[in-house]
């Protein structure tokens, strides 16, 4: 029953990978054409929602080919629209 998921020791759990990159840069791709690159701060309990606290954030908008605001002072990113998380990512190089 419970042996279907995560019983294989050789596999990498997604939340483990995200926990490993606390304190380092992370690149987040949203459902729309927006991407966020920032420093992933302290461990916010990554429950079901996966809201994230980031610092020194750069926001990229892909379609209009522009780099948006560079924000500091920690943002709380709503986890509802997160599609992909890329640890150590530098963002789209435009």
């Amino acid at each position: 029953m419970a042996a279907t998921a995560a019983s294989n020791p050789s596999q990498l759990l997604p939340l483990e990978l995200v926990d490993k990159c606390i304190g380092s840069r992370i690149h987040i791709v949203m459902k729309n054409d927006k991407e966020i690159v920032g420093l992933y701060l302290r461990l916010l309990p990554l429950l079901i929602n996966s809201d994230m606290v980031l610092e020194d954030v750069t926001e990229f908008e892909i379609t209009p080919e522009g780099r948006r605001i560079t924000k500091l002072d920690q943002i709380l990113l709503n986890g509802n629209n997160i599609t992909m998380l890329i640890p150590g990512g530098e963002g789209p190089e435009v």
Binding site: M1, A2, T4, A5, A6, S7, N8, S10, Q11, L12, L13, P14, L15, E16, L17, V18, V29, M30, K31, N32, I48, S50, I62, T63, G79, N80, I82, T83, M84, L85, I86, P87, G88, G89, P92
Partner: protein
């Protein structure tokens, strides 16, 4: 004069309400009994359902057979990605290695090879995943519906 009428009317209503309660004490208790019974029934049903849900927690699809195999994932919002599945969890969060992301062009409807970029090791949020399939198991075919329109 009108003020007295209104005041008397309100006082009469209040006294009638109070009298109504005191006149039928057993009616008050009788009203409570079915409430208690329904609460018991409801709690029993809820507990029973929870037991059933605990047994049903296994997922209907076993992803462990796709570990270390290239898969294609489609997301809400039109994004597509493919990579080697390295891990997953019951919430359908995925770990993909060597990920290539394909993005839809709004002008060209749907063209795969327009915008592909390498992403490397990626965690995909399970709430955004719409479709998972093995990369070998799908191919692009010419539109089969055009022939029907001509005929």
């Amino acid at each position: 004069m009108q003020r007295f009428v209104v005041q008397f009317y309100l006082e009469k209503r209040l006294s009638m309400f109070l009298l109504g309660v005191y006149e039928k004490p057993f009616n008050h208790l009788l009203c409570a009994v079915p409430v208690i019974l329904s609460l018991c029934l409801l709690s029993f049903v809820v507990v029973h359902l929870q037991d059933k849900e605990k047994k049903k927690k296994e997922s209907i699809f076993d992803l462990s057979k796709y570990i270390d195999k290239p898969i294609r994932v489609k997301f809400q919002g039109g994004r597509e990605a493919s990579g080697v599945l390295k891990g997953f969890d019951p919430l359908l969060n995925l770990v993909l290695d060597g990920t290539i992301e394909y993005m839809r062009d709004p002008d060209d409807q749907y063209k795969l090879t327009e915008d592909t970029r390498q992403l490397g090791l990626v965690v995909c949020r399970g709430t955004a995943v719409v479709l998972i399939c093995p990369q070998d198991g799908m191919e692009a075919i010419p539109n089969p519906f055009i022939q029907q329109q001509d005929g």
